[in-house]
């Protein structure tokens, strides 16, 4: 991590901005305190001094003289030296023995510094003319105010410097921490970009903003990994599923090409080849259909569909096929009113037909199949067949996968994926479970808990 990176880090810059803002706010605050305090400390006594000086106006000369002498006796430390002078400036009474020279203006405050051997003292005084022409000087020692001022300034400056130091170092620490964290995230992303699809962004479990983002990205990566796996699986399966019929086709055509074949034998070989090619084409058609449905563009053909009618038609269509295997096929609609939804009539028939067709294939003679329509809308097909092993319930939804017993029966392994794609297009989900005696397949709205994280994220 370089310094330039730190300077660019959002959290560091944010901390600096904050320090600057807080610094100027507190500077303003302290300055206000400083100014108003010093003004208060110096302003109020001034008024009192002026009043004190004026209070002698109404006294006789003798009373004034004795009052000032009394004050001088009381003011042993010389904190408030007073002096009474005749109009010529000669001392009459008080502990202030001399008028400053040049003589200061009347009724104005002035400051004088008195240097002694030990210290120098600053006095603030006012010169007042009494009605009889005598002059009175009222003073006070303002050395302490000056000290207070200096002290206040020092403390303020120290606090300011401390705050700047704390702000900058705090910002640096926070910036470094978040940069380190982002570095780890960046490294993880770079790893994934290089092809390590199993890699995930680091999380701390603190549920803070970066953690939440990392978790969303991680779930996106899970989905991408799943899709990549599916694509790879599909490619492998296409290659595998087509190699077998192509090999058979080649063998058949080579047989047909032999000279010593009768016309009937040759024709039989060619017909076998045609069936073989037809099956391959239908595999391709089913694959194309699934990806076409997954594109979602077919929503353009949506209309209000009465599911009861579609299911009734499908059951009616498949009933003879079930009957020929001595399987009873029954349709029940649990709600009285019609169950309607926006959808594609043909595709919904195809989905339900696929489920019924599967059920007929996997149910032994004498069994029964139930097709049920509930409000929701929920379509449930149950059978008394062999069921699907718990481990296989998710994988049978993948293309080309044929679970357990299905490998012995006909089919291209695309039926349930097609149903799944149709369900997703309609905002529904294909769920595979076990009924009491066999398999239970449902097309229903997704369970609410699957959507809970999304809802949390958007709230």
């Amino acid at each position: 991590m370089r310094l330039s990176e730190l300077r660019g880090a959002t959290s560091f810059r944010l901390a600096l901005w904050f320090a600057a803002l807080f610094g100027s706010a507190s500077l303003l605050f302290v300055a206000t305190i400083y100014i108003s305090t010093t003004h208060y400390l110096s302003g109020n006594p001034d008024e009192r001094m002026r009043a004190e000086a004026a209070s002698y106006d109404s006294r006789s000369h003798r009373v004034t003289e004795s009052l000032i002498d009394q004050h001088s006796v009381a003011d042993l430390t010389g904190r408030r030296p007073f002096g009474l002078f005749d109009p010529h400036g000669n001392w009459l009474a008080g502990n202030l023995r001399q008028l400053p020279s040049p003589r200061p203006a009347l009724e104005e405050f002035f400051e004088t510094t008195v240097n002694t051997t030990r210290e120098h003292t600053i006095y603030r005084s006012i010169l007042h003319r009494l009605p009889n022409g005598n002059l009175v000087v009222v003073s006070r020692n303002i050395e302490e105010l000056g000290k207070f001022r200096e002290r206040l300034l020092d403390v303020t400056l120290l606090a300011f410097v401390l705050m700047i130091v704390l702000g900058v170092s705090g910002g640096t620490l926070v910036g470094i921490a978040s940069l380190r964290r982002l570095d780890r995230v960046t490294q993880a992303i770079e790893g994934i970009t290089r092809g390590d699809l199993a890699g995930r962004l680091p999380t701390r479990g603190t549920n803070d903003d970066i953690d939440r983002l990392a978790r969303v990205v991680n779930s996106m990566l899970d989905q991408i990994e799943r899709l990549m796996g599916e694509v790879k699986g599909v490619c492998d399966s296409i290659a595998h599923d087509l190699r077998t019929p192509l090999t058979r086709l080649l063998a058949g055509l080579e047989r047909a090409n032999r000279r010593n074949l009768t016309e009937a034998e040759r024709r039989a070989e060619i017909e076998t080849a045609i069936v073989e090619v037809g099956a391959m084409l239908s595999t391709f058609a089913a694959l194309l259909r699934i990806s076409e449905i997954e594109d979602g563009a077919r929503r353009a053909s949506f209309q209000l569909v009465d599911l009861g009618r579609v299911l009734g038609d499908a059951v009616d269509y498949f009933e003879p096929a079930a009957a020929s295997k001595s399987i009873t096929l029954r349709f029940t609609q649990s709600d009285t009113g019609p169950v309607e939804m926006q959808g594609d009539l043909d595709m919904l028939f195809e989905a339900v037909g696929n489920l019924i067709d599967n059920a007929i294939k996997f149910t032994p003679p004498g069994g029964s199949i139930g097709v049920e329509l509930r409000d929701g809308p929920e379509i449930v097909v149950t059978d008394t067949g062999c069921g699907i092993a718990a481990d296989d319930r998710e994988t049978v939804k993948l293309r080309f996968y044929r679970g357990g017993r299905a490998q012995e029966t006909i089919g291209n392994g695309l039926g349930l994926p097609l149903v799944g794609a149709i369900a997703r297009l309609h905002g529904l989900e294909l769920a595979i479970g076990n009924a009491a005696t066999g398999c239970r397949v449902a097309i229903a709205p997704p369970a609410p808990e699957n959507h809970a994280p999304m809802r949390r994220a958007t709230s």
Binding site: E271, S301, D313, F349, E350
Partner: protein
Amino acid sequence: MPDILIVEDDNKTAREIAAALADSGMGSGHAGTGVEAIAKARSSHYDAIILDRMLPGGLNGLEVLAALRGTGVTTPVLFLSALSAVSDRVRGLRAGGDDYLTKPFDFLELTARVDALVRRHAQDVPVPEVELTIGDLHINLLMRTVRRAGIEIELLPREYQLLEHLVRNAGSIMTRTMIFEQVWGYHLDERTNVIDVHIAKLRRKLEAGGGPAMIETVRGAGYRFVAA
């Protein structure tokens, strides 16, 4: 002999279609572009047009059809397309197409559909009928009853519909997909053998009285209803 105009830019596919039509006893002409198709369809009489949805040059299949219908050419049209999206199919039929087939298709499926189009167009003015008779089979269209050799045959509603449809198309091949589309009313690539079970049931009922078979299986294609 019915004459069919094939509008298809791929010459090889056009030749294959022509050969398949010839096998079913139909003649054909060929147009490679939309403009050529319009000129040919207007200048000479064709019984049906096989129209590729995607064509090179300025006009696509839908536009060619619109131009033909706009100038009063009512020749039935079967659309061919690599796109199987329902919206596309709907648009094709709404534009005045009479049938729709997606690539890759089965040639038997194509010829059977063209044959059906030609015959449907030939008897375009429907005569109000009360009864269909073929051989010793009588169907009363009003009462929806079926009698063979004078004996009434009990049919379920769907069986009756299936039989009526086969009888109306007697003599020509009906593929499983065509039967499924036209009797059950859903448009999808039906690949189960359920139609065969329905036909078998109907056959058993028709032949219960001991009469000869009326529904022929055409290998690799579908079924044909014949007068016994």
